[in-house]
């Protein structure tokens, strides 16, 4: 970090009027536009100019939260664009309300939830998790989320159900990236039933004390913190319990590179990116990547007896 000369520090009255201006701008242009131009913010409590707030300031390992600015402006979301820094701008007009999530397949009581239903029925809580992208960078994010398990208990999977299949919205009008036929839309992801019932498997509807912005997967997304980021599917419209292992978006795109499990594992190399180390966004150096992204205690049991190299 560079030291800021005192000449560059904004006088208080200018700062305060800027705050007023920003507040008005918030009313006028909405939170999304504001987030795109808000000054660099760190995890703050009480909220900063961007309204971002979090109860905790670190994860359970003591790692600091990634700034709200970075979390909302550096996004892999190919439905909008492959350019990570352009997602925030391109997604600002995304309409995520009303929104329905259809939960069905091998369940006793299939249900379609309005997002408001979901919010009313399942208490969301702050859950701070690490997100490790397969490209070798990572973040620490304070989600507002509830366990996927709660939702599954509500629809009651039948005895035949072995996997959960998730599907993102398909709407090329809203998702310009879906006009690109190079990829097999819509985005699909999957978990084993045991993975889906794990404590760490979350459905998030917010982060930093606010509802999810489009670039982060509004209005509802999966969070599977011990797996590479692409498993945490965004803007979910469909959740099905199935008997067969689903083929995920990335498995279809490059089966030799992306497997079904995609557990974070420093010992299983990927042909493009080092998986032994990673860069935490906001830091300069590299840090070691942890087995299961540091959640081995909670999830290693799920893979007992499974060859993790063959089942990447």
């Amino acid at each position: 970090m560079k030291a800021i000369p005192s000449s560059e520090i904004t006088p208080e009255e200018v700062y305060l009027s800027r705050r007023r201006f920003l507040k008005q701008a918030l009313v006028l242009t909405g939170a999304v536009a504001l987030a795109a131009c808000a000054p660099q913010s760190v995890a703050t409590n009480p909220p900063g100019d961007d309204g971002a707030t979090a109860t905790g300031s670190t994860d359970e390992l003591g790692d600091r939260l990634t700034s709200y600015q970075d979390v909302t402006n550096y996004n892999n979301f190919y439905e909008f664009t492959t350019d990570k820094v352009a997602v925030a701008r391109l997604s600002s007009g995304f309409i995520s309300s009303p929104w329905q999530v259809q939960v069905g397949g091998l369940v006793e009581s299939p249900k379609t939830f309005d997002l408001d239903d979901l919010r009313a029925r399942f208490d969301r809580q702050e859950r701070i998790t690490r997100l490790r992208c397969v490209e070798g960078w990572s973040m620490v994010i304070p989600w507002l989320a509830f366990p996927l398990r709660d939702l599954l208990n509500e629809v009651r999977p039948t005895a035949d159900a072995r996997y959960v299949r998730f599907e993102s919205l398909y709407d090329p009008q809203q998702f310009p990236g879906q006009k690109d036929k190079w990829f097999n839309w819509p985005y699909v992801e999957g978990l084993t039933l045991a993975e889906a019932y794990n404590d760490l498997t979350l459905l998030a509807t917010g982060l930093y004390g606010k509802d999810l912005l489009p670039q982060n997967g509004a209005p509802i997304r999966l969070v599977v913190p011990w797996k590479y980021g692409f498993k945490s599917i965004k803007s979910i419209v469909k959740i099905d319990l199935v008997a067969e292992q689903p083929t995920s978006f990335w498995m279809a795109a490059a089966p030799n590179e992306y497997g079904f499990y995609a557990n974070v594992n420093p010992n299983v190399p990927h042909p493009r990116w080092s998986q032994a180390s990673e860069r935490r966004i906001g830091e300069l150096g590299r840090r070691d990547t942890l087995l299961f992204n540091g959640y081995a205690e909670q999830v290693a049991e799920l893979y007992r007896g499974l060859d993790l190299k063959a089942n990447y």
């Binding site: 490209e135 493009r272 860069r279």
Partner: protein, 199 residues
């Protein structure tokens, strides 16, 4: 356009990627992952300037434009310059000169190995891109500098293997390279020169 102006234009355009990198860097506009952004931008510039440099000779055969021939060397040197920046970003900024991590990455990732090979070829070419070396090497100089074709091919392969699934851009660069190399086949080259002399 007078040659002097063309030369200034060539150098300004060639320094533009570096200038933009510095301006964006100072303005904090290199994304939340600036090291990755620097790596990608310098890499892109290296491949592009290699292709520019390799376009010079065919352009000269076809148009008789002398400046095209003179631009070949500086463009190639700029390609090496960006490739060196690209490598330094990887080794110093990204891996903090951690030799065990770098060594492991080299052994583990074929695309890094291929990239390093391309860089070493470009280094040899850059070191011999002066009159003294040309005099010393004589007719061998030309043979040596045909390695630029191999360097370009390796650089495109490096890019192809480095991108995530969507390989259209490296394929585009590869196709352009293929055309530029095909134009160098003696019968085609002769035809190009003939074409110009007749018109």
């Amino acid at each position: 356009m007078p040659k002097r102006l063309l030369t200034i234009l060539l150098h300004s355009l060639s320094l533009l990627p570096l200038l933009l990198l510095i301006i964006n860097g100072l303005g904090g506009r290199l994304t939340a992952n600036p090291i990755q952004a620097i790596t990608q931008r310098t890499g892109q510039a290296a491949v592009l300037w290699l292709l520019f440099s390799l376009s010079c000779s065919p352009l000269q055969w076809l148009s008789g434009w002398h400046f095209a021939g003179q631009a070949r060397r500086p463009l190639g040197l700029y390609a090496f310059f960006y490739a060196a920046l690209h490598f330094l970003t990887f080794a110093v900024l990204d891996y903090g000169l951690n030799l065990s991590l770098i060594g492991a990455a080299l052994l583990e990732k074929r695309f890094i190995l291929v990239g390093l090979l391309a860089l070493l070829l470009l280094l040899a070419l850059a070191l011999t891109s002066n009159r003294a070396a040309m005099r010393y090497l004589g007719r061998h100089w030309k043979r040596l500098h045909r390695l630029s074709y191999a360097a370009a091919a390796l650089a495109v392969l490096h890019y192809l293997w480095a991108v995530k699934s969507d390989i259209r851009q490296p394929l585009l660069y590869g196709s352009i390279l293929l055309i530029l190399l095909t134009l160098r086949l003696p019968p085609i080259r002769r035809a190009l020169i003939h074409l110009r002399q007749r018109s």
